[in-house]
């Protein structure tokens, strides 16, 4: 079975597992569960799996996607229940299905989080309401500054004890804007501590990504 997709969540202690480590972990989960992943040919065969959108260490997610292929037919509806007993703490398979389209169709992400030890909600609201928000980031050739304003569809902030709560809708691929990049844009006004969770993924037209 080719072109399969798994939706899973990564929360709790699992948020510290890096992208590369997650790939290896997932392979082992499938192996333990006796669900045979397809492997590439060649001298150093590797499982044909790909995580659609890398997740930075420390960010939680309820909407991670992994594309994979199996060497045998499986009841996809039953797959999450078959995988979950073999997951490390904090990773949960939610849904498996045939991928309806390419992973590149994933364009927007809705996130929620907290920002502490910085400014209040009103400040962030004004800051991210500007028509141009330059942010410096590492690109293939050195550092580069981009305007991230067009990539922020929504940025809502409310005051909480010690900081603000945020709800964001950010462009996820081409270009990619992450909460980290927004914090960079804040410069000296960036919070000392922030933590976000990906809640939902959308396509370009804001229909849900599956």
């Amino acid at each position: 079975m080719d072109k399969l997709r798994l939706r899973f969540s990564k929360t709790g202690r699992a948020v510290y597992i890096s992208h590369l480590d997650l790939m290896r972990t997932m392979q082992r989960v499938f192996s333990r569960a006796g669900v045979p992943l397809k492997y590439s040919e060649g001298f150093n065969p590797h499982a044909k799996i790909s995580l659609i959108l890398p997740l930075s260490v420390g960010t939680a997610s309820l909407c991670e996607y992994m594309d994979f292929a199996l060497t045998e037919d499986r009841d996809l509806a039953a797959l999450p229940a078959a995988l979950n007993p073999y997951m490390p703490e904090g990773i949960e398979a939610l849904e498996a299905y045939e991928a309806p389209g390419k992973g590149a169709e994933l364009r927007w992400l809705r996130l929620a989080g907290v920002m502490k030890g910085g400014r209040d909600a009103a400040f962030y609201r004004d800051f991210f309401a500007r028509s141009s928000i330059p942010a410096e980031h590492r690109a293939k050739r050195g550092m580069r500054t981009d305007d991230i304003a067009p990539s922020i569809k929504m940025a809502r902030f409310t005051d909480i004890d010690g900081g603000a709560e945020a709800e964001l809708i950010l462009h996820a691929q081409e270009p990619t804007v992450s909460p980290e990049l927004m914090m960079t844009a804040l410069g000296e006004d960036a919070p000392a501590y922030f933590r976000f969770t990906r809640l939902e993924a959308y396509r370009e037209d804001m229909t849900p990504f599956r």
Binding site: Y16, S18, L20, R28, S31, P88, R195
Partner: protein, 612 residues
């Protein structure tokens, strides 16, 4: 994770190693637990999680109802600094609870360079370092592992140590602890009772006195402690616990694979080798048992690699059968089988060729010495012919990467022996030239040397270590001799660490002050070149009124009372003395299968005969 800790984890490298939550970790309900056991490994997560002994004891202890064993590792420097700045105590991975919450804090000690890390972990856990500063039954600090055969340098820090294999004795000591806790014993009473268990060493029950020259005058047991602590072994190794449900790390570690221990002990009697002497006698698992354990563990863990481990896997009688069985299972599943360094003989090469169909890597041989004369001195029963023959088979089979390991500074070594290493490497190169299946790919021959370190409980325990200057001179000699052979790369380990390792390995109780001093000067994770600093040791020895050369480069007279003489590893002193004499005569001692040399280890077995 609370925000304070989450914030900290975001600032350090590879935070996944500090949070636990891996597949197969054991979590128990604290309400059902009466003994909390912190299993501390005095090195990083990546090293500790690769250690088979830790996996075994984690399983053994957690199989005990009411006992919860958790893992604790030494944080890397960035994390350690942050924890100290924030006054956050070191925690155990499973529960996230600080070390202070545990009844027993136990360390696994496989190498001397970890000693300062033990102190650092205790300190980070807010546990007093010295046993005498921990008056109560709580926070009992224990240690086990290969280093216990001379743990004198750490004796003042540990309440109790385990000599030999831990599977049974750990359980017994924990059961006794449970009783002591329930009945409200004092710590002294517990230790006195524990000292009656075979394999338990309670350092505080031994008084050590010294001669004017600094050597040990007497080791005096008190309060009924045995004059000699006898090491424990698991006699029925085939039926011995094996961790088929290991914790599977979610982040990369050093050896991330199933490690199947095919046998314990070693039939060879290499005279420099401590493990080969302290782990006697040989006890094996049957190929059927190993196949079953291997498959079960691969299935439970989801690993893609299986390694056959032991001190000398070529000597496993059922190796051929085992490899065939494992390959039948592994090959269709894309699982690779790896063998540690093998002996240079035809049988091993045959196995190697079969196994390496799965994945081809370099071949490693350890002739240890460059000339036959010196190999006879150390009882390394490998001839040049064996080695070159094995290399020929390897080159014909398409290998083009051979690693050769040697030691410099072995007893009786001369410049001729050093140059013999270069000669041997050249002969390996010529063998390649004559026999390579495909010369266009070139060849890589790597020669590595490390400095010989005399270790307790070996026939060389009385020997002097050569000085660092002398080691470097021999390195130069060899570098020069190899410089004209392009295809040979020469790597040598610096002798700085060996100098300290030698002093710690044969140190006495007074060296504990040096270890503490070095730790106070910032020494931790010292087996890492990033953190090791010789100058701290060179300052600490005199600061404590001791001389590092007294422990390292001094030859001991045979009649000297050695600091570890109350540790009975079942190989008799008489045997070691005899082996030392044979070394000087250049006489080989046959391996245990060819003929029993009467070392004494058979006395550990019920029938009194070795069957390895």
């Amino acid at each position: 994770m609370n925000e304070k800790i989450d914030a900290l984890l975001r600032q350090v490298q590879r935070p996944a190693r500090y949070v636990g939550g891996e597949y197969n970790q054991v979590v128990k309900d604290k309400a059902d637990v009466d003994v909390r056991f912190a299993f501390c490994f005095p090195d990083t997560y990546e090293i500790g999680m690769s250690n088979l002994g830790m996996k075994i004891l984690y399983g053994v202890l957690n199989d005990m109802p009411g006992v919860w064993c958790e893992r604790v590792f030494a944080p890397w420097g960035d994390m350690a600094d942050r924890l100290r700045q924030e006054h956050i105590p070191l925690w155990a991975l499973e529960s996230g609870d600080p070390l202070e919450d545990f009844d027993i804090i136990a360390f696994s000690l496989g190498y001397e360079m970890a000693y300062t890390t033990v102190l650092d972990m205790l300190d980070m856990g807010h546990i007093p370092l010295r046993a005498k500063d921990r008056p109560g039954l709580e926070h009992l600090v224990m240690a086990g592992g290969g280093c216990i055969c001379n743990i004198e340098p750490m004796a003042d820090f540990f309440d109790l140590c385990f000599l030999g294999e831990g599977e049974d004795v750990d359980r017994e000591a924990v059961e006794l602890y449970r009783r002591a806790k329930a009945e409200g014993w004092t710590k002294e009473r517990y230790l006195r009772e524990a000292a009656r268990i075979e394999g338990v060493y309670v350092p505080s029950l031994y008084d050590i006195s010294y001669n004017a020259g600094g050597t040990v005058a007497a080791i005096t047991p008190k309060d009924g402690a045995p004059a000699k602590v006898r090491k424990r072994i698991v006699e029925d190794f085939d039926g011995c616990y094996y961790p088929t449900r290991p914790v599977v790390p979610s982040t990369e570690i050093v050896h991330d694979r199933v490690s199947l221990e095919v046998f314990r002990g070693c039939i060879r009697g290499c005279r420099f080798c401590q493990a080969g002497h302290t782990n006697r006698p040989v006890r094996s698992r049957s190929p059927e048992t190993l196949l079953r354990l291997g498959k079960e563990t691969l299935e439970n863990a989801g690993y893609q690699e299986l390694n056959l481990s032991s001190l000398s896997t070529s000597d496993y009688r059922g190796l051929s059968e085992l490899c065939d069985g494992l390959l039948d299972y592994c090959r269709p599943r894309g699982i690779s089988l790896s063998l540690p360094s093998l002996r240079a003989d035809n049988f091993s090469m045959d196995i190697m060729q079969r196994v390496q169909q799965v994945r081809k890597s370099g071949l490693t041989f350890a002739p240890e010495a460059g000339t036959q004369r010196l190999r006879d001195v150390i009882n390394k029963n490998v001839t040049e012919e064996d080695l070159l023959n094995s290399c020929r088979i390897a080159f014909e089979g398409g290998w083009n990467n051979v690693k050769l390991y040697f030691m410099l500074g072995l007893p009786t070594e001369t410049d001729e022996d050093v140059l013999g290493i270069a000669e041997l490497a050249k002969k390996v190169f010529w063998t390649w030239k004559q026999h390579a299946a495909n010369k266009s790919r070139g060849v890589r021959i790597t020669v590595s040397t490390s400095e010989f370190i005399p270790k307790p409980h070996t026939p060389f325990q009385w020997e002097a270590q050569i000085s660092r200057e002398e080691y470097l001179r021999r390195v130069d000699l060899l570098t020069d001799a190899l410089s004209r052979t392009k295809s040979v790369t020469y790597n040598w380990h610096d002798a700085e660490m060996s100098l300290v390792e030698a002093a710690l390995a044969r140190g006495d109780r007074r060296v504990g002050a040096v270890i503490e001093d070095v730790w106070r000067r910032g020494g931790r994770l010292e087996s890492w070149s990033e953190y090791f600093r010789l100058d701290r040791w060179l300052e600490a020895f005199p600061a404590c009124g001791l001389d590092i050369d007294f422990y390292g480069t001094r030859e001991r007279p045979v009649d000297e009372l050695l600091p570890w003489e109350h540790m009975d590893c079942a190989v008799s002193r008489r045997h070691l003395e005899r082996e030392r004499e044979r070394a000087y005569e250049g006489v080989l001692t046959p391996d245990c299968r060819a003929g029993c040399a009467g070392c004494g280890a058979a006395s550990l077995l019920k029938e009194g005969v070795c069957r390895g």
